[in-house]
């Protein structure tokens, strides 16, 4: 469980320019510094848009839109929040605006039964961690079932559980990203887990 104030992969490694330094350069108009931030976070932002939208082509466009909006608003970024959380909040808003428009257009985007996946050419998931050979047996099938179950959650539940379990954000950070209360975050986490438990119990209980 991640207990620090910053998710592990957002902490600068040796030789890497810290986010805040890059943000300051961006605020001075340095687009190359922003390009470095895009490179650092594009995979995670794209992963988030993909999980929310379930369409890789749209997710690609929305991830770009999130970065463009981040550039427009970077002057107002204050260092009392992490850049990562701030960027996720923008990404959340971009995706929810898109989902609202789709809902208005009658595409049923909030339908929990929606399981459509549209893959973009060249798309590939980056494994979070290397697994042992025994765990790799059946890993692809397990992952497919998990992806399908996650896709069946509502966007609110989906985002809450992913920000908690995969990104390791704290409750207050999830609340900040989703612009809701900590109580609502905890409720969404509980019901997301209940739903996933119901959908996946036979699958993950058999994983060794």
């Amino acid at each position: 469980m991640q207990q620090s104030d910053m998710p592990p992969s957002t902490a600068p490694s040796d030789g890497e320019v810290p986010d805040l330094e890059l943000v300051k350069r961006c605020q001075a108009g340095d687009t190359r510094a922003f390009d470095a931030l895009v490179t650092k976070y594009r995979g995670r932002v794209y992963c988030m848009t993909y999980h929310l939208i379930q369409n890789e082509t749209e997710a690609w466009d929305l991830a770009q839109e999130a970065f463009i909006k981040a550039w427009r608003g970077i002057g107002s970024f204050k260092s009392d929040a992490t850049f990562f959380t701030w960027l996720y909040r923008i990404t959340h808003n971009v995706c929810y605006d898109w989902l609202r428009k789709k809902k208005i257009q009658g595409d049923g985007e909030f339908d929990d039964s929606r399981t459509e996946h549209v893959a973009a050419a060249g798309a590939e998931a980056v494994p979070r961690a290397v697994r042992s050979p025994s765990e790799q047996i059946g890993g692809a099938e397990l992952k497919a079932r998990i992806d399908e179950a996650i896709a069946r959650l509502s966007p609110d539940h989906r985002q809450a559980i992913l920000l908690k379990e995969i990104e390791g954000l704290r409750y207050h950070e999830i609340a900040e990203v989703m612009q809701t209360s900590i109580g609502t975050v905890m409720s969404r986490l509980f019901y997301a887990r209940k739903k996933l438990q119901e959908l996946l119990k036979d699958t993950y209980e058999n994983v060794t």
Binding site: G43, Y50, F67, I68, A120, P127, R128, I166, Q197, E205
Partner: protein
Amino acid sequence: MKTSPDETQIVRWLDGEMDAAESAAFEKEVAAHPERRAEMESMKKLGATLRASVPASREVPHADFFNSQIQVRIAQEEMDAERSRPRSKAGVFSWLRIPMFATAAALIAIAGLLWMQRGSGSGSVILSSYVPNPGVQARTFHDDEANATVIILDGLAEYPADKSIAGHRVHHSETDTAVATTTLFSEDGGVLLVLAKDARNQPRVLSHSPRG
């Protein structure tokens, strides 16, 4: 939405948000309820399975292009903002506002920089277009069913009907970071265009094939 105390406690226990004393007291409390305890352990295992199976990051298709498109849009927005500011004198590129030059410049750019790539289906998608004249906006639409692409150039002066516009069909691209250039190749491996960025992060054509 309100949560019952039980739900809140379960969530905090699962997420390691309880201190040692609170956690021990809670575990002692649920020990008397085997079903609830089993459910909590199952949820804990679910969390471990998710963390091991779901990637935190996805490789972005055409990642270099993803970045360059953002830079192009930022540059375009800055140019738009610059253009909207009142000016007392004409700039050095004011000749581009002359319709004839604007037309030629826009069409040369469209002809040279339409960046087309085969999609997963039978048609193609336009990934990027670039117009050097800020007074002209290029929009493109592709219809798979009709297998046709329409290019709309807003702000362009009337163009003679007997002139043709040709784009490149790009099969793949290679970026050389050492010299900061991107080379676009045709299906037969021939070089179509060699691109670099200028000081404003705008694409600049270094060389192109004869048919461009």
